[in-house]
């Protein structure tokens, strides 16, 4: 038996699996889609909708269509709202707290030694009720709310930037492999297969522990590189599959006939058409990267003090879990809520853009 028949089913199966990294979603299977999208975005403009009087009104674009469907999905809307709220709170929260209450996330109340200890939520120095620290304080008397919000900044930042890094690598790699095809494609995808089977997280831990950086910027850069460079594989496979199915269509032929250069065909004509699945997968990559970052920070290989992420806050909290459980619970629950919402949003986007209808 030869190469070809051996690889095909496995690869098809993988391609299918990748598009549903969390399994098939409920929505899509529950209701057969009334208006499936199966054309490239710029061709979808003429999808006419019947108005009340029986005439035809202006068609809707794919994106407006997807947006409408997303809004119908209650869980996705919930996810979207929570993600936006947490992002806004993380971005402006620490500054707002400083303006209103006068302390920064790393402010230690050194003027009064009685305050340098961990207070439970909503508790003042005398054990009385107080609004000052709604999430309590940590061992050094620092405000937990401010720290959780600042940790959110780092966690979200790492999640988004690393996803962009993986997007950049994955999309270019997949598009080039898919467009060139043949032996080059075979070789490039074999490499992806091999990389898939590596215990990459273990290698990342070695990398991070060996090249410990002292500066915050160095730590973050190392994290971006480490996380981004190991999470592009699935993206490359998805984009390759899309490009394979698109590259023989007429618009590519037309571009080639008019003498457009290959890089331009790939990045101007093919890549924009793979955007739907790419956006969906990127949305689902963000929580995964945030989880990995938290995992690394938890083990002490990610961001370190004075920077804090949700993972490192949880790692600090676990030390005192028996006495000060709120030190773990607040960063942990905030993070879980964010990941929960991001996952729902990603699922909702997948239903809305329905990339499965577009795969071949």
């Amino acid at each position: 038996m030869d190469e070809k028949p051996t690889r095909l089913p496995r690869e098809l199966e993988l391609a299918e699996k990748e598009l549903t990294p969390h399994g098939e979603s409920a929505q899509r299977l529950m209701t057969p889609d009334p208006d499936p999208i199966h054309v490239a975005p710029e061709m979808a403009i003429a999808e006419d909708v019947r108005a009340e009087d029986g005439g035809y009104v202006r068609g809707t674009s794919l994106w407006r269509d997807a947006w409408r469907r997303l809004l119908k999905n209650k869980l996705a809307v919930f996810g979207l709202i929570v993600v936006v709220l947490i992002t806004v709170a993380s971005v402006i929260g620490p500054a707002l707290i400083k303006r209103l209450l006068g302390f920064t996330p790393d402010y230690i109340p050194t003027h009064d030694i009685r305050l340098v200890k961990s207070f439970p939520p909503f508790t003042g120095p005398e054990g009385n009720f107080s609004w000052l620290h709604p999430m309590g304080t940590d061992n050094a008397g620092r405000d937990q709310l401010a720290r959780v919000l600042q940790g959110g900044q780092i966690s979200l930042f790492v999640g988004v930037i690393s996803t962009l890094v993986s997007l950049l690598i994955g999309v270019s790699y997949g598009a080039i492999a898919g467009y060139i095809g043949g032996r080059v494609d075979n070789l490039m995808m074999r490499l992806v297969d091999v990389l898939y089977s590596l215990p990459y997280i273990i290698v990342v831990i070695v990398l991070l522990s060996m090249f410990r950086s002292q500066t915050p910027r160095g730590q973050l850069t190392l994290l971006f590189i480490a996380l981004g460079s190991v999470s592009w594989l699935t993206m490359a496979r998805i984009v390759r599959g899309q490009v394979l199915s698109l590259k023989n269509q007429e618009f590519v032929l037309a571009a080639r006939a008019t003498g457009v250069s290959i890089p331009r065909i790939i990045f101007r004509h093919l890549v924009p058409n793979t955007l739907g699945p790419v956006i969906v997968y990127a949305t689902l990559t963000i929580p995964q990267i945030m989880l990995t970052e938290a995992f690394l920070s938890f083990l002490g290989f990610g961001v370190q003090a004075p920077l804090a992420s949700w993972g490192s806050l949880a790692a600090d909290g676990i030390q005192n879990i028996a006495i000060y459980p709120w030190q773990l619970v607040f960063p942990g629950v905030t993070m879980a809520l964010t990941l929960f919402s991001l996952n729902f949003l990603g699922d909702g986007l997948r239903d809305a853009l329905d990339p499965q209808m577009r795969t071949v």
């Binding site: 051996t6 089913p9 399994g23 090249f211 083990l299 879980a336 996952n343």
Partner: protein, 307 residues
Amino acid sequence: MLRFIIRRLLVTIPTILVVITITWVLIKLAPGNFYSGEKRLPAAIEKNIREKYGLDKPWYQQYGRTMWNILRHGDFGTSLKYEGQSVNTIIARSLPVSASVGILAYILALIVGIIAGSIAALKQNSRWDYSSMALAMLGISVPNFVLGPILVLIFSLSLYWLPPSRWGGFPSRNLILPVLTLSAVYMAYIARLTRAGMLEVLRSDYIRTARSKGLSERDVVVRHALRGGLMPVISYTGPALAFLLTGTVVVERIFALPGLGNYFIQASLNRDEPLIIGIVAFIAITLLLMNLLVDIAYAFLDPRVRY
């Protein structure tokens, strides 16, 4: 089939060598040394240490010696931190700890996940479906280093039912919390995969045939639908194993278990070079062999797949 296995094994060996080499290069490229600490060592002592561990030789000789010992004798050398203990002994000692937690967690995840996923698919859009899928989403979203301590907080520190940490031998109550913590995510994934797979299969023609020839619902589900519906779950076994390995790292840290993951973290922090390389190589080998097994199992279960 045999040819497939041989070909895969032939790819596996260079892959493992590449992993070992990458690890070795990373360690060598990094600034500092395992003996470099706060205080600088006197030159004579440093020279002795370098001689003892062969660090005075050029890099290609060091690399060659490491690789030769690994390939020829399966010998990863002696740990630098745990003096007098060979890497192989440390792995042999810590493997049972990791394996018992990992395997129990995987079995638990399979049982609960498949049952929950099947029920969700069979009673689609019912309350069962929604609640199990919401739970599954929760399982995916709650990091295990949050779940573990919260379980400890509830079951050990508040209710005093279970020991909070430490290794207590194979069948012991100490295992319950680590296994629960580790399996939560896989349970969730497997439940979702099972549900999706079952939903697809339940709509297919051969299930309609099975139903129309008068098989009982139980026979239809157990003998026909599950077999097809579980294919995604089986193909998830490979990735799951990889995640399980990283999951054990966290769980072993939380529950202070002397497993492979804990030793690996310690070794990374200590720059215990032979131990790092040994554990990385061991994990890579396990992972690659497991992936091979999954592919073979796939071929047996799905008659459409031909190697």
